[in-house]
C-alpha cells in the first residue's frame, strides 16, 4: 500500500494530509476534511453529484484520487456562498424556483452551473441543458433547475451592471 503526503487548498483554506493512493478526492473531502456537502452518488463518473471545481474547472471528484490533487485549488459547494449562513445568488434562485426536491444532486448542479455562468453570462436554455448534461436529477424533471439558472443569470447580470455603474459613478 502506498501513502502520500499532499498539500491542497479547499475553499481558500490550506490543508496537509497523508492519504492512501486509492482514496478518491470525494472520499478525502467527505471523510477526512468532513466537508460532506459534496455527495457521492454512483462513484464511477456517471451522476455528477460529486462535482467540484479543481483549479477553477468543474470535474468529478470520484474520478480523481486525492493524491493526484496535490498542490491544487479546490472549491466545493461549501465555498459557493460569500459568507457563512448566507446563500449565493445562484443558491437563492434554486431555493426560489424549487429547483430541488431531495437535494442529492444539488451540490453537483450548483458547481456545474457556477462554472457555466462564469463563462457565459446569458446562456440560452439549450446551453443550460448542455451545461448541466453531466448531472443527473431524479426528482425535478430539470425544468425548475433550468428556471433557477435563467433567473440567476439575469440577477447576476443586473448585479454586475449595478457594480460597474457604481464603479463608474
Amino acid at each position: 500500500m502506498s501513502h502520500h503526503h499532499i498539500t491542497l487548498t479547499v475553499n481558500g483554506r490550506p490543508h496537509k494530509s497523508q492519504v492512501p493512493a486509492r482514496l478518491t478526492l470525494v472520499d478525502f473531502l467527505r471523510d477526512v476534511l468532513l466537508l460532506t456537502g459534496t455527495h457521492t452518488g454512483c462513484e464511477h463518473g456517471v451522476c455528477g453529484a460529486c462535482s467540484i471545481l479543481l483549479n477553477g474547472k468543474p470535474v468529478r471528484s470520484c474520478l480523481i484520487f486525492a493524491v493526484q490533487a496535490d498542490g491544487m485549488d479546490i472549491v466545493t459547494v461549501e465555498g459557493l456562498a460569500p459568507e457563512p449562513e448566507t446563500l449565493s445568488i445562484l443558491q437563492d434562485c434554486f431555493w426560489e424556483t424549487h429547483a430541488l426536491q431531495c437535494g442529492f444532486c444539488t451540490p453537483g448542479m450548483l458547481i456545474a452551473v457556477r462554472a457555466l455562468l462564469a463563462e457565459n453570462h446569458s446562456p440560452s436554455e439549450e446551453q443550460i441543458r448542455e451545461g448541466i448534461g453531466g448531472n443527473l436529477c431524479r426528482c425535478t424533471g430539470y425544468k425548475p433547475i433550468v428556471d433557477a439558472i435563467l433567473l440567476a443569470a439575469e440577477r447576476m447580470r443586473r448585479s454586475n451592471a449595478g457594480a460597474s455603474d457604481a464603479t463608474a459613478g
Partner: protein, 293 residues
C-alpha cells in the same frame, strides 16, 4: 465501489514512466485523465498493482501545427482540444467529434491520448483520428515509434501498444491542398453525450465542379474497432454524390459492416442507423465544402 489497493507514482518524464511500467512486469497501468480507468478500478474490472501518473509531465501537453499536420500531445485535455483555434480551423472534424465526448466535467480531465489508448469501439476521438489518417507517436523503454491509426486499433479496448509503452502524441494530417473540404460527425445515443450506439465520421473534399475527390468515412459501434467504410467511400469518389450514388454507397456500407447485437440495439438496427448517419454526414460535409446551405 472502491478501487483495490495499488502503488502510485507520479512520473516526471516520459522515460521514467516507461521505466516504471517495464519494472511492473505488465501489472502497471498509466493513468492520464482517469475518466475511464478510475471507473474500471472502482468496479474492480481493472486491478493493476501500480499506477503511473503522467499528468505532470510538461512535455505531454500542447497542440502544435507544423509540416501540414496538427500534433496533439497525449495529456492535452479534451476540453483544451475542443477550445483550440488550431483544431477548429485545421481539423474541424475532431472539434465536431469532441462535442459528443462526455460532459464538461469529464472533458476537463479526460485526455486525447487516454481516449486513443483506451480504444473504446465507439470512442469519437478514435474515429476522428482514423478518418484523418492519424499517426500515433509512442515511446518505449528503448525506442520511439510511429504507428498509423489503421494498425493501432487491434480490437475492443486493445491497441498495438506494449505494456511498457507510453502513447505520447497523435499527429493528424491536414487536408489543406485538396480542394473544398467539409466534415461532419453524426451520432446516435440513448441520451445525449452517453456512449454512442452508432456514430459516423466523414471528411470529404470536392473540386470546384462539385465532384468528390477525396472521402474518408469511419463508422463506430459497427465492430470491435472504429471501421473504415472504404467500399462506400470508393463508390462516392468521382461522383457529385447524387441520390442514386448515396443509395448504392449505403447499401455497400450495410453489406460490409458486421455490428453485434446487444441489449441496447440489434445488429440489424445498427446496420440501418449506420447507413442513415453516413448519409447525413456525407451530405453535411458536402454542404460545408460547397458553401450551400
Amino acid at each position: 465501489m472502491k478501487a483495490a489497493d495499488f502503488d502510485y507514482f507520479c512520473a516526471v518524464s516520459i522515460p521514467e514512466a516507461c521505466r516504471l511500467l517495464a519494472g511492473a512486469n505488465g501489472e502497471g497501468r498509466i493513468i492520464a485523465g482517469g475518466q475511464t480507468l478510475v471507473p474500471l478500478l472502482a468496479m474492480r474490472l481493472a486491478r493493476p498493482s501500480l499506477l503511473v501518473d503522467i499528468n505532470r509531465i510538461a512535455d505531454l501537453r500542447g497542440i502544435t501545427l507544423s509540416d501540414g499536420a496538427v500534433t496533439i500531445k497525449a495529456c492535452t485535455t479534451q476540453a483544451d482540444a475542443l477550445a483550440s483555434d488550431v483544431v477548429r480551423k485545421h481539423i474541424p472534424l475532431l472539434a465536431k467529434a469532441l462535442g459528443h465526448v462526455g460532459h464538461t466535467q469529464t472533458r476537463n480531465r479526460g485526455t486525447i491520448g487516454g481516449s486513443l489508448a483506451n480504444a473504446d469501439p465507439v470512442a469519437e476521438i478514435c474515429m476522428a483520428a482514423l478518418a484523418l489518417d492519424g499517426q500515433i507517436l509512442s515511446h518505449g523503454p528503448k525506442s520511439k515509434r510511429t504507428i498509423p491509426c489503421s494498425e493501432f486499433f487491434r480490437g475492443a479496448m486493445t491497441t498495438a501498444l506494449a505494456f511498457d509503452e507510453c502513447l505520447t502524441a497523435v499527429r493528424l494530417p491536414i487536408w489543406g491542398h485538396t480542394g473544398r473540404v467539409g466534415s461532419s460527425f453524426q451520432e446516435m445515443s440513448i441520451r445525449r453525450s452517453d456512449f454512442a450506439l452508432v456514430a459516423a465520421a466523414v471528411q470529404a473534399s470536392f473540386d470546384d465542379e462539385g465532384i468528390c475527390r477525396h472521402l474518408a468515412i469511419v463508422v463506430g459501434g459497427c465492430g470491435p474497432t472504429p471501421t473504415r467504410a472504404s467500399a462506400a467511400a470508393d463508390r462516392l469518389i468521382g461522383t457529385r454524390i447524387e441520390e442514386p450514388d448515396l443509395a448504392e454507397a449505403t447499401r455497400l456500407l450495410r453489406e460490409t459492416i458486421a455490428p453485434q447485437s446487444d441489449p441496447h440495439a440489434s445488429a440489424d438496427y445498427r446496420r440501418r442507423v449506420a447507413g442513415e448517419l453516413v448519409t447525413r454526414a456525407v451530405l453535411e460535409a458536402r454542404r460545408e465544402a460547397m458553401g450551400t446551405a
